[in-house]
Symmetry: D2
Subunit: 356 residues, 4 copies
């Protein structure tokens, strides 16, 4: 079973493969009357699109999104919004090696084990190109939550973390790493260059912060804000971990250290002395910034030969040539932001649906 | 909206509050013909139940599960299985303080923000007593996946990790910490005692490993095994992070270090040189052990006074007396295991439903 | 797969068999703050319960509903509401004949074909006793839609229809047939008596009207109000048809005859010259009364021997003794009303969730 | 909320409006390895497409379906199948009248009541053009159920029923009415011609029969085969009623008359003496032909002026010009068949998912 749909009231379904004619998303459940055009979505597509610096894959895709339905006279109608992005740079190449050998770390073997065969061209459905459709859907979701400001950035790359004292949100869009720390960005340029030249790859950690989220979104237990975010982030290609607030570090604190004390705030809402919880309590938002962090493994495609097996089960080795991101976490940043937008928009609608 | 249901083909819905007459789960979608009785479930209930050592809450609950439907002549019928656990030790006490003040780290404020009021007796629905129903449901799920062996344990408590060289699975059930390392268990006894006496609390990390999972369970993208596990684990009370395989550590590896090389195995299945991925690739299992780790924050109920506000928004402070686990991660261990059983059983059925 | 859950935002899951210890429903997604107690639900249980006249089964059940969760200090908390009804009159009898022979018209053969075996005591899960849980859930749903008035009644029994000119809503509760036409009720008493004495059975048509439903509930296409009602009604035991408005009769009208002309109404809402559509257009309510009709087949349990086969495939015949409703449509009336309440409450919440 | 998705394991989501650039469906959950190309789907599109006779709308659409994803080397991959159909004959015309006046029987008023505004061009999302996407999705579903033969036909048009003694399945494709009775088809030609010339419209009843469905598909209660079919059929534009087997006529039979007696069959399966139940018992198939009937109201677009109101609430009248089907039930026939294919394919997969 595929289950290519995410969300409860705001649901999106993505479709498409790396080397098919197009890919897209159908966004269902968007409220009516919101202003929406391609121009609202395209900037987010551009942030994610490949080929914009030497630090990402050299595949060239315009990643122009088209709205095929659900918008009339510039406003959403409440009916499904079909978003399509054409693939334009599916380089014709010889896939016979990938067709016959399993690339470790890729979905080659597991897809074959599940489905009996696979579309091996560029990873097929398992390619991170699918995330273009998520970013497009995220552009719709943002319209539903104008009260929320989202900021995603890489906070660690190849084990090298940003210095929180150097944090400058304006920097994020000024370097090819979505890095809020100018000094770190310089170091990362060297790191990624070195990895790229060596045919190696690096992992990264992406952090996303949402401010303006009111208290009360989310739900106890199986639709906890934390749980929805975790599912969303772990559905992104190459992610292996997700934390809310202090996350794993909270497991090393005492109860006193971890307490987010409250005091009366100016407008009647509480003020919090800290935000170890990352903006939720019992799965429901507290009005504090919502903070999550997502771990991306290093790109599995590397030039160093790795032992593997063929489809027939014979020993061999493989070198994964082709155009790859040396650090998928970088271009994962707009995807993390899009997924957070999608989760928050869904939770806002769910809150309206239960609590009016 | 509540969404107290989890799962896709094997779905369970839990109900009940800390201080209501009972709590329970309805397990729907269980295949017919499986042998099932209360005796199959009770051992897992006993592992989770409170009051078994001085390191857990002193609330005394028999946590006896009753099967009210879905089983006939000792076998499941394919119809919903209703499981009920009566609450027997809801100590009558004065809740007026909790009713009027928000306990930081608890769901008091966020529930009020969402719902306008809350059942404040012992946390109501947000109490970890709800996890008893999960463990019961997990007992049913285990019947669906006899090929799988699940092992959950605390791998780190209060920042003190086990020594992997001392790992002995037999030890897990021989100490009150589900600790596979006898030396660590001794250290933890002191740590938890000290925290308990100081009215403080500690966090923990729980690891769960599933062996025997065949290659091919899971799905691309929004029902990725990783995503389902993340949602499951982050829905447990007090969890703040989840990792699959190397998780956040993978973000610090190079592509070469992170590669799980393959070679031909004895039975035609591949053998893997490593398991950085934790048993999945592209969201689908590879046949390797499935490994996840879950971060539990320290219990929010502590005896040190913490600043907070009243329901009316006035400054005050609160001391959370009562019977609490000094480290909720300990009793979270059987819950993590139950949730993994539930996810795996669901994914097995989904695989049958798509791939026959 | 069972899928014992119905609804999208207001979801209920039922459990239980005819001869188990109890049955119940878990109602999830109910908004917080609604006044609710057992006394609000019991009158609807009493309307459905067996043994209240000679025209229904003589099984005696108090059908007392208990609320086990989700209500605090007399109000719903927004968390799942667990409703339980104990079975008290599961008469011990010899089921060996039913265990070995298939009763035509019952689910005996089809359950065996699907599940390999079945709980044969009183039909197990396929017994109409399950509808007690629906009626209880419907009692919760009614609280969500105080603006709506629901009126269900039998409009045809054994092929004998009411005279619309004799329609008197007050009569419905004054006879054992939920019949709004006093003259018809007298005729039906004779018909049902005759059938009962002959060991035969009769079918019926139940109509349900909802007034007070505002324009705008429902949705285009796959969650059309019409589609949701159809699914709800056809999920009731023994139903074989469902119509909205004129239903099948509309297929015999011309476009002019079927047009529901509109004119300006007193309060700005339109007035309609007719209601052939039964209160919906394009799947969304128009503010007119919502009207549906449900066909119940005659009870399959009859005293006339019918040819059948044994579980081993041998020819035999069967006579279904025991306590049965000679016309299941009668006691189906409160069930139809409950299902309409559940659909409308769900659609109200969905409307809030999409359109605010 | 829109909910433009139907199905549980085999799910399809449709998108698109009457006058947008295209419409389509994303089919998710299709098993891998099935042979599929556009050529498999196109014949069903052609059966539904407009403009093929004088008895349907004169809108000319090629209705050519394109597969954009989910198929590789001629076989399904198990990933979502995106189907797109371009709109080519959205005649430019003046919609100002429809924009300002509500057409009775159409979704104009109800959409405005729900969403605040609507895409008024040709009915927007409420147009029956959406059903082209269903028929395309149905073409995929048929591949999943090769054991099933589906036959849909009009059994009554404008109140004039076929003579069952004249039933000849070969005739269905030989006249523009999907009529299995040659004599009836001749009468209907006159009826529809007369209605068309008078600017009037007619209703119809469509029957669909599925043979080859094994015993055991379906489920008790909320995913009963009957309930799923009812939801599917009532989600089609212009439908107002649905019956399984004898349907409403069963409500007029006695238990003896309605009994489907069983006897041993040649191959160990039972033979049935009759099929009043229409192929299900307790919501699960019995192996008999599955029979349902769907009532289509007459097309709401007529040339006779009808009283209505403007968006501002003023009295006016409307004449609906343009290109319309004089009897929507005719072209509804392939849609009914497609929906049955989709329900059966879903139920087959669900059965595998629960019972292996």
């Amino acid at each position: 079973m595929s289950f290519n749909t995410f969300g409860r009231l705001l649901r999106f379904s993505t479709w498409g493969e790396s080397h098919g004619p197009a890919l897209g998303a159908v966004v269902d459940g968007c409220p009516p009357g919101l202003e929406l055009s391609e121009a609202d979505i395209q900037p987010f597509m551009d942030a994610r699109k490949p080929g914009t610096s030497r630090f990402t894959t050299q595949r060239r895709e315009a990643d122009e999104v088209r709205i095929l339905s659900g918008v009339f006279e510039g406003r959403t109608t409440g009916t499904p919004i079909s978003l399509m992005i054409e693939n334009t740079d599916q380089r014709s190449k010889d896939y016979s090696e990938i067709a016959q050998k399993y690339r470790p770390g890729h979905a080659d073997y597991s897809y074959d084990a599940k489905y009996g065969f696979r579309d091996y061209r560029g990873g097929g459905r398992s390619s991170a190109r699918e995330t273009a459709a998520r970013v497009a859907a995220g552009g719709v979701a943002r319209k539903i939550i104008p009260e929320v400001t989202l900021t995603a950035y890489v906070c660690e790359l190849g084990g090298d973390a940003i210095d929180r004292d150097n944090f400058d949100a304006e920097r994020i869009s000024q370097n090819p790493f979505f890095c809020p720390d100018a000094a770190a960005a310089e170091r990362w340029a060297e790191k990624v260059d070195a990895a790229r030249k060596a045919g190696s790859s690096l992992g990264a950690v992406v952090e996303c912060v949402a401010t303006g989220v009111p208290a009360g979104w989310g739900a106890p237990l199986y639709a906890k804000m934390d749980s929805e975010l975790a599912a969303a982030m772990m559905s992104i290609n190459a992610t292996k971990g997700i934390e809310i607030g202090d996350g794993f570090a909270a497991a090393r604190l005492t109860g006193e250290e971890n307490a987010d004390a409250m005091r009366p705030g100016a407008d009647g809402s509480p003020e919090f002395a800290a935000n170890h919880a990352g903006g939720t309590a019992g799965g429901i938002t507290t009005g504090q910034p919502l903070v999550c962090r997502v771990a991306f493994k290093p790109t599995s495609s590397i030039l160093t030969p790795v032992d593997t097996i063929t489809r027939k089960g014979e020993a061999t080795e493989i070198v994964t040539k082709g155009r790859h991101d040396p650090c998928v976490g970088i271009r994962g940043t707009p995807v993390v932001e899009a997924m957070m937008a999608l989760v928050l928009a869904d939770q806002k609608l769910l809150h309206l649906g239960q609590c009016g």
